[in-house]
């Protein structure tokens, strides 16, 4: 249990994990479910318990497609994808690497592309 990490994840995701009623709709809806060792509902639960390190070590954080299906369908407005993203961020920060190369940004920009998708893509693939 790492309270600092937990706080960091909760703060950077903006998610209130206590709102989760453990229905599992996020995992029921997840297209990457079988690829993931820990599933969306487990992310929420484990963050609540403060077990962030296990998640950070898991490949699961790179398997999430950030498709936001879980965010869209969660009946409690918990937004699991944002938790996954926050854990991913925590892992990347820890590596001390800055994957954002400012010079590459303009080419990547596209009016229809959500900004979060660009940022996520950078974090995931530029290494």
């Amino acid at each position: 249990m790492n309270n600092n990490l937990k706080e960091q994840v909760i703060r950077s995701s903006g998610v209130n994990v206590l709102k989760c009623m453990r229905c599992g709709k996020c995992s029921g809806t997840c297209p990457s479910y079988d690829e993931m060792e820990y599933h969306p509902h487990q992310f929420v639960y484990m963050v609540e318990k403060g077990d962030i390190e296990t998640l950070m070590k898991s490949e699961s954080i790179y398997k999430c497609l950030t498709c936001f299906a879980c965010v869209e369908r969660c009946p409690r407005n918990v937004e699991p994808a944002k938790v996954v993203e926050a854990v991913r961020l925590a892992a990347i920060r820890k590596q001390g690497n800055n994957h954002l190369i400012a010079d590459n940004i303009p080419e990547m920009l596209d009016e229809d592309l959500p900004q979060q998708a660009i940022v996520t893509a950078f974090r995931k693939y530029t290494k």
């Binding site: 709102k19 009623m21 453990r22 229905c23 599992g24 709709k25 996020c26 995992s27 029921g28 809806t29 997840c30 479910y33 079988d34 599933h39 509902h41 487990q42 299906a69 369908r73 969660c74 009946p75 409690r76 407005n77």
Partner: protein, 668 residues
């Protein structure tokens, strides 16, 4: 000049042990207006009361202050005593020197000092007390029940049983409500129609009950015991008094492609219709949106008219108009019930895309012998027998988003267990899956019932929620869900999906609440007067709540509440008149600005305005809008007195000057 008597009670040693009662009586005897100050062992005893009564007579008292226990304890005792001695009961004040003095303090000197101050405050107040008379207001011996479902029917039957006239107003063409659409009931699995329809018939045959079907309440005025409601009988184009319900017209009607609302659009009916075989009243109704003649707009046109030709009693009247009835009622019972929510926002369940994804209420009709398939469970799309059925719980319930409802709909766990069991019983070759978040079964024989579904009928209960429902080309439905306990994601090829849809209060409830000045919560459920102790009364006197309009309920709970509401209504109707609380607000018309601030904060709708002519200081006359308080409706909270900027509103028994006098006496 005031002549005030002070009576200090020892309460045995309860008061006397910590408060020097003699000193209190002595100190208070010097207060202005006090003509006698006595102490006694037990003021509330008969001898003590006689002391008060005798003093009232002997000294011609104009006010009485009793320094004793809490007014919540014996205020009434001393008021009655005063009354029997010829003093207006509202000229008695209590100084609480037991609960709020002797029992909480240990030091005799300071406790005595405080007791004297409390006594002085009571004396200061009683100086300003005015005699009050509790008004009486007559009670109209008739009840109005709004809504003709099982809740409304039960309430009406119970009130009629007690000998009072009852009117049921039902917006649909028949009474019966949701229960009439239900196939079987849990946890006994007896048929809903078999237990409901006899009650419907009983209601229609009871001389004390008048059923206004296809009607709405369009206005309510008045207050407890004296409501006036306007009932709008919508035009049904059939003379109710002539129609025999033979059904010849429905056969003759050429327009047969009307979605059958009673079967939730799962099959069709004719434009002139009787909702179902046991409808009460069994009277035909023409749907003007589909009737070939009425749809044209000109009824004198020679279009169709087949139903009128077929009718042997001449009941069809294409010229019928809405009719308005005005009636006086003593009590009103709201029983407006519930509806499943619309599922338009839940794309993931494919409800709008796939006919084989149905709501639980639709499943009831699909399984019902009087339903579209005559009781055989068939898929709506291709009328084949489903072999794999998935039930999804909590669809729209327990949601914290904009799509659903934040509450638990309460009935879904049990009816889903019922559905699962009935299907497994009738079609053992059908596999049944139930995806649940929690199974909630508090209630007599409820958990046993659910366990039977699992243990005896082998229904697959899976903890987890369905994430996505996708209709496939081969006619099956892919149900993607998580199984939280085995930690895997499942794909089930289902033939049918049943959604346990959240329930919400009927849409007519909110405008009705405004009309009745009753309160509602944010979900549009009516709020009861007290969550624990007055669960079937609304906060507005004379308005009672029955059934699911107050919160999600199953049938036994609904019936229990219906009877409880009936007994509360009867308790009101048996009285010839009601005594009003005289400690009510009143408006000083000379100071009233007519600004409506008081009206806006009144929880009871007790304040109304009228234009009155006044002579102005400059000798002209002017019409001014002034507030008036209906003392029979006002409950005396005093919210208006503070909202009023000019101080025109004041409260009997707790007037501005009385409270100020108490403040002054305490702070002196």
């Amino acid at each position: 000049m005031q002549r005030i008597g002070v009576f200090v009670c020892h309460c045995g040693t309860n008061i006397a042990a910590t408060v020097d009662v003699k000193a209190v009586a002595e100190a208070l005897s010097h207060e202005p207006g006090v003509v006698i100050s006595q102490e006694y062992q037990y003021m509330c005893s008969e001898a003590g009361q006689n002391l008060v009564k005798d003093a009232i007579k002997e000294y011609g008292l104009t006010g009485v202050v009793v320094c004793s226990c809490s007014p919540r304890m014996h205020e009434n005792t001393f008021r009655k005593a005063a009354s029997s001695a010829g003093l207006n009961p509202y000229l008695v004040e209590i100084a609480n020197i037991r609960e709020q003095c002797s029992w909480i303090h240990k030091d005799i000197a300071t406790a005595t000092e405080k007791a004297v101050i409390l006594g002085k405050a009571a004396i200061a107040k009683v100086h300003l007390n005015t005699p009050l008379t509790a008004g009486e207001s007559p009670v109209a011996k008739r009840a109005l029940v709004i809504g003709g479902g099982i809740a409304g029917i039960q309430t009406a039957l119970d009130i009629a049983e007690a000998g009072f006239e009852v009117d049921i107003v039902e917006k649909e063409a028949t009474i019966g409500g949701k229960m009439a659409q239900i196939d079987k009931t849990f946890p006994t699995l007896d048929c809903a129609a078999c237990i409901l329809t006899p009650k419907m018939v009983e209601a229609s045959q009871n001389e004390k009950i008048t059923i206004h079907s296809y009607s709405e309440v369009s206005a309510v005025k008045g207050f407890v015991g004296n409501f006036t409601a306007t009932i709008k009988k919508k035009k049904r184009f059939v003379d109710e008094t002539k129609c025999t319900g033979c059904g010849l017209c429905t056969e003759a009607c050429p327009m047969k492609k009307v979605p059958n609302a009673f079967n939730l659009g799962l099959d069709n009916r004719s434009a002139i219709y009787i909702p179902f075989a046991q409808a009460v009243p069994k009277v035909a109704t023409i749907d003007p949106n589909y009737c070939l003649k009425l749809r044209k707009g000109d009824v004198n046109d020679k279009v169709c008219g087949k139903c009128a030709e077929a009718c042997t009693v001449g009941a069809i009247n294409y010229h019928q108009q809405d009719e308005y009835i005005e009636q006086k009622y003593g009590a009103i019972v709201v029983a407006t019930g519930f509806n499943p929510i619309k599922l338009d926002k839940y794309d993931e369940f494919a409800y709008n895309q796939c006919p084989d994804v149905v709501t639980s209420l639709e499943l009831e009709r699909l399984m019902n012998a009087a339903g579209p398939n005559g009781g055989t469970l068939l898929r709506p799309s291709d009328k084949t027998h489903p072999h794999k059925i998935v039930f999804v719980q909590c669809v729209g319930s327990r949601c914290d988003d904009s799509k659903g409802k934040p509450y638990c709909s309460k009935i879904c766990c049990m009816y889903t267990a019922k559905h699962a069991m009935l299907i497994r019983e009738k079609y053992p070759d059908t596999e049944v899956y139930v995806f649940y978040i929690d199974v909630r079964t508090p209630g007599k024989n409820f958990d046993e019932f659910y366990r039977r579904a699992v243990e005896q009928y082998n229904v697959h209960y899976i903890k987890g929620m369905v994430g996505k429902v996708t209709p496939k080309a081969d006619g099956t439905i892919d149900v993607q869900a998580s199984d939280l306990l085995s930690n895997e994601q499942l794909h089930i090829d289902a033939d049918m999906v049943v959604l346990a849809t959240a329930i919400e209060p009927d849409k007519t409830a909110r405008p009705l609440a405004t009309m009745l000045t009753t309160q509602m919560d944010t979900n549009d459920f009516f709020t009861e007067a007290h969550a624990k102790l007055r669960p079937v009364e609304s906060a507005t006197a004379g308005i009672f709540l029955s059934g699911a309009c107050q919160g999600p309920k199953d049938i036994p709970e609904t019936v229990a509440q219906a009877s409880a509401a009936a007994s509360k209504a009867i308790g009101l109707l048996v009285k010839d008149s009601i005594t009003c609380n005289p400690c009510v607000a009143h408006s000083n018309e000379l100071m009233c600005n007519g600004c409506s601030a008081c009206e806006k904060v009144c929880p009871y709708g007790a304040i109304t305005y009228q234009d009155k002519e006044f002579r102005m200081p400059d000798r002209t006359t002017a019409i001014r809008r002034v507030a008036g308080v209906n003392p029979a409706v006002c409950q005396g909270c005093g919210a208006c007195t503070v909202a009023c900027p000019s101080g025109a509103m004041d409260l009997n028994g707790f007037s501005n000057s009385q409270i100020m006098a108490e403040v002054d006496a305490i702070c002196k």
